[in-house]
């Protein structure tokens, strides 16, 4: 049943992913794309909308995917699933484990998990790039550069770089998304 499946999938995502919304992307990709709930393009669209609207990215993505697969009830259950583990774990910590962060073992475990989560995020981005940019998902795929995508990527990187140099501030992701939307709209339409 899709409702139970949505709830349990997002419960799992909420229970084991560290590093906030972006830290969840590798697991969300693994669980939703493999189940055929989403294509990679749909997932990227949802991430873009989640990033361009206010609120926690994890909640936005759970609501979006839940609604896509199971309407309002699906959205509710996916969101509940992703929230519940964090809610329960934090309550247990504030009520019973006041010294949680002082346990050296916790710090030891996190010293392993933090770089791993960063690795997962970077690898996910690279895997997505290989498939979108040069059409390679698995061994045996023919190398076929997608020129338009590569041009847009170069433009995005250049814009972010110049903005940083000129203003000494990081460019807002929403602005980058808007720029790439215009580029995509124009370049893919001609």
């Amino acid at each position: 049943m899709i409702y139970l499946d949505l709830f349990l999938t997002f419960l799992e995502i909420g229970a084991v992913s560290f590093g906030g919304g972006y830290g969840m992307i590798s697991l969300i990709r693994e669980l939703t794309v493999s189940k055929g709930w989403l294509t990679q393009s749909e997932l990227l669209n949802f991430i873009a909308v989640s990033e361009s609207t206010p609120g926690p990215i994890a909640i936005n993505m759970a609501t979006f995917i839940g609604s896509h697969k199971g309407g309002v009830l699906g959205a509710f259950l996916a969101t509940l699933g992703v929230v519940l583990p964090a809610f329960i774990i934090i309550l247990i910590i504030v009520i019973f484990l006041k010294n949680f962060i002082k346990y050296p073992a916790v710090q030891g475990i996190m010293a392993g998990i933090s770089p791993c989560v960063i690795g997962l995020i970077l690898a996910t981005a690279i895997i997505m790039f290989l498939s979108v940019g040069i059409n390679i998902s698995v061994l045996g795929d023919t190398f076929k550069p997608n020129l338009t995508a590569l041009i847009i990527l170069a433009a995005v990187i250049l814009t972010a770089f110049i903005y940083k140099k000129a203003t000494d501030k990081k460019i807002s992701p929403v602005l980058l998304i808007l720029i790439s939307a215009v580029l995509g709209g124009v370049l893919y339409s001609v």
Partner: protein
């Protein structure tokens, strides 16, 4: 201040932060600090710093970890529930409404093409989020090794279409972190 009043104020503050913060949980941290430590004084500076460490060391969305923690400190379990609800309601509503129109919107050719461009940008955003987190962690041989092994394994296994869940990477590296901690502790004790 009566508890009922605190709960209502908590709910409204979380609703406001949930509705107006772009950029997810990490972007929210400074707003939460401003609202609850500086203005409302429901948490001390130290409690808030503990919160940031706890939120990063526990699974789940950072925003939910934070709103549950702050809600509990302000008004107990009821506060935790109300605070978390307040944080989720704006996101849920906005995204649900968008999801109703999204497929129709995407059926316009220009919009579909615009989203093809956006998809490329999102890959960059994911990568740059990873790089930003990398800058903030302690860099030593152990952390670089874990990161490099994770990246290489994940890409190679994906190319060879071997299924190996993300969850295993997290469990293995957490375990490696624990072992590494125990070894360094032991060495430190021996050299005393």
């Amino acid at each position: 201040m009566s508890k009922a009043k605190t709960v209502v104020k908590l709910f409204l503050s979380m609703l406001k932060i949930g509705a107006f913060t772009f950029g997810g949980g990490y972007a929210m941290i400074s707003l939460l600090q401003d609202e609850f430590v500086i203005r409302k004084k429901w948490l001390s500076e130290k409690e808030f710093l503990d919160l940031v460490v706890i939120a990063e060391s526990t699974p789940g969305p950072i925003a939910i970890n934070s709103s549950t923690y702050i809600g509990y400190k302000a008004a107990g379990v009821l506060g935790a529930i109300v605070g978390t609800l307040g944080m989720c309601i704006p996101s849920f509503t906005i995204i649900y409404v968008i999801s109703l129109f999204f497929d129709k919107f995407l059926s316009l050719t220009f919009v579909a093409n615009a989203f093809k461009g956006i998809q490329v940008c999102v890959i960059y955003l994911i990568f740059s989020a990873g790089l930003k987190m990398f800058k903030s962690i302690k860099k030593n041989l152990f952390s670089i090794l874990i990161l490099a092994v994770t990246v290489v394994c994940m890409i190679v296994l994906s190319i060879f279409a071997v299924k190996f869940s993300t969850i295993y990477y997290i469990i293995i590296s957490g375990f490696a972190g624990l072992v590494f901690y125990l070894i360094t502790k032991r060495k430190a004790e021996e050299s005393k």
